[in-house]
């Protein structure tokens, strides 16, 4: 083979151009991970704001999510995709790295939330209309199972409090029927359902403990909650905190409390009381009430800083301009903050140095330093509601 200087030169040029292009592409793609990323729902616009928590900035806005009042989000296990459950029955898949909507199905008339399975392959949506759960392939958003929620009374029920549980199971509550169901998705096409009847009146939301063992549903129609031990389902459901209202007439509730953002601090669970301006402290081993703390209004979320030393609480209208910070060891309120009008949600960064707070009516999200309790950043966003950071991808029940 004889050397051809011209060909060699062309080859060298091509390699150089190729390398330059590759480098350019890498920059353009903004080679980054998503471990510090998250999303904020812009509820009125039906839009997703993709943010990052290292410098507290906006990365992308992704429109086209439909009616996002009461929208919630779960993440794929690679933390690249967000699945958004909209009020209008829309299930939307967004690539948060690219800032692009990559899939959307209108899977029901009216829905409230969802969950992703332990193995990350299935996304389940809980629906009000038609009442039930539908399960989708997380990759393609093709439906793989439909679980109509027909209660013992033969009537369709709204479904709430849907969570994932170990064993590739989903657990949820039937609001109208007063039942808790477990769907075992080992064979995704034909879920095996275990039903618990007559658990109590109007279970309005549910949570699962971080170890995936206990499912707890709050009751609206009764003074108490119900618990299901997923390690021992044969024992059935048990009532906990029965009569925590002490027979007093409950106060009106201008926004339903949420259990999903519950706080567990060592052995203590912190729960918002329904119709009472209190949070309840429950011992995780005995499930007995061990105390209660009077707060500013009807609590909506009570969320623990990841080290569980602080619990941050927000409130229903008309107290929704306020956030209170509880020091859990002393059980004292150490700060009453006024972030602005209509504080809807709070989300801690994975190690808890900051908390992101959405203030709907003031069109902003405020990032607080949890040590100084001072704001460190403010992002202008349009009617922000739910805030979801990607660290949720690796937590049972989130």
């Amino acid at each position: 083979m004889t050397a051809n200087p011209v060909r060699a030169t062309i080859l060298i040029c091509l390699i150089a151009v190729g390398a330059a292009l590759l480098a350019g592409c890498a920059d353009q793609a903004g080679m980054r991970g998503t471990g510090d990323a998250g999303v904020v729902i812009e509820r009125a616009a039906g839009r997703l704001a993709v943010i990052e928590t290292t410098t507290n900035s906006l990365l992308h806005k992704v429109p086209g999510l439909g009616d996002t009042s009461h929208a919630s989000v779960v993440f794929s296990r690679d933390e690249r995709y967000a699945f958004i459950f909209g009020r209008d029955g829309g299930l939307t898949k967004v690539d948060i790295l690219a800032g692009k909507l990559v899939g959307r199905v209108i899977q029901a008339g009216n829905s409230v939330g969802g969950a992703i399975s332990q193995d990350g392959r299935l996304v389940a949506v809980s629906n009000y209309e038609p009442g039930g759960v539908r399960v989708f392939d997380a990759r393609t958003l093709e439906q793989v199972a439909d679980i109509p929620a027909i209660g013992a009374d033969g009537a369709a029920s709204k479904v709430v409090g849907l969570v994932d549980a170990p064993g590739n199971r989903f657990v949820f509550s039937l609001y109208d029927a007063g039942e808790i169901w477990i769907a075992d998705m080992s064979d995704p096409g034909s879920p095996r359902i275990t039903k618990f009847r007559d658990v109590g009146r109007l279970p309005y939301d549910g949570l699962i403990t971080g170890n995936g063992r206990y499912y707890v549903a709050g009751l609206f129609g009764e003074d108490g909650l119900v618990k299901l031990d997923l390690w021992n389902t044969g024992a059935g459901v048990t009532r906990i905190l029965a009569g925590y209202g002490r027979g007093e007439e409950p106060l009106p509730v201008y926004k339903m409390p949420h259990l999903e953002g519950w706080a567990v601090a060592g052995d203590i669970v912190v729960l918002p009381a329904v119709g009472r301006h209190e949070v309840l402290l429950v011992d995780l081993a005995s499930w007995q009430e061990v105390g209660r703390i009077a707060v500013h209004g009807q609590p909506v979320f009570a969320v623990a800083r990841p080290d569980a030393r602080q619990v941050w609480v927000n409130f229903a209208h008309p107290g929704n301009d306020t956030v209170q910070v509880i020091d859990l060891p002393s059980r004292r309120i150490i700060a009453t903050l006024k972030p602005g009008k209509a504080v809807l949600h709070m989300e801690f960064t994975p190690r808890g140095e900051h908390v992101w707070v959405s203030v709907r009516d003031d069109d902003k999200v405020i990032v607080y330093d949890t040590a100084t309790l001072e704001p460190v950043a403010t992002l202008p966003l349009d009617k922000p509601s739910g805030i979801f950071l990607t660290a949720r991808a690796h937590k049972i029940g989130l």
């Binding site: 209008d88 009216n110 129609g221 009106p252 009516d361 009617k383």
Partner: protein, 109 residues
């Protein structure tokens, strides 16, 4: 005294000018506030497009056949045994009646 008389005359005028069945229509600023509340706060349970959620749909079709006074009563005094709370601490009867009218007209933003 004169102020009160003037207020009464003005109120009567407003009632006369308002749609039938309405005692007094809220002012422009208050109307905007009420519609914002309707969308954002009522929308938490009834959906921002009023197609329902944990609470029932409040679309014109859903409300057809339901008398005004029952709906006004639900807004003001709530519905015991359900999560529907009484709003009379910040919404007047006239304002509730005006909201019902907006819902019947299929109010959307």
């Amino acid at each position: 005294m004169f102020d009160r008389l003037l207020a009464m005359i003005l109120c009567a005028g407003a009632a006369f000018a308002a749609a039938p069945g309405l005692a007094a229509e809220p002012g422009g600023e208050r109307q905007r506030e009420l519609l914002y509340r309707l969308e954002q706060d009522c929308g938490s349970c009834h959906g921002m497009t009023m197609k329902g959620g944990l609470g029932p749909a409040l679309t014109p079709e859903a409300l057809a056949g339901k008398p005004d006074d029952g709906l006004v009563d639900a807004i003001l005094r709530g519905r015991p045994g359900t999560p529907m709370a009484p709003w009379d601490f910040e919404i007047s009867e006239d304002e509730a009646a005006w909201l019902v009218l907006q819902l019947r007209r299929g109010w959307t933003k």
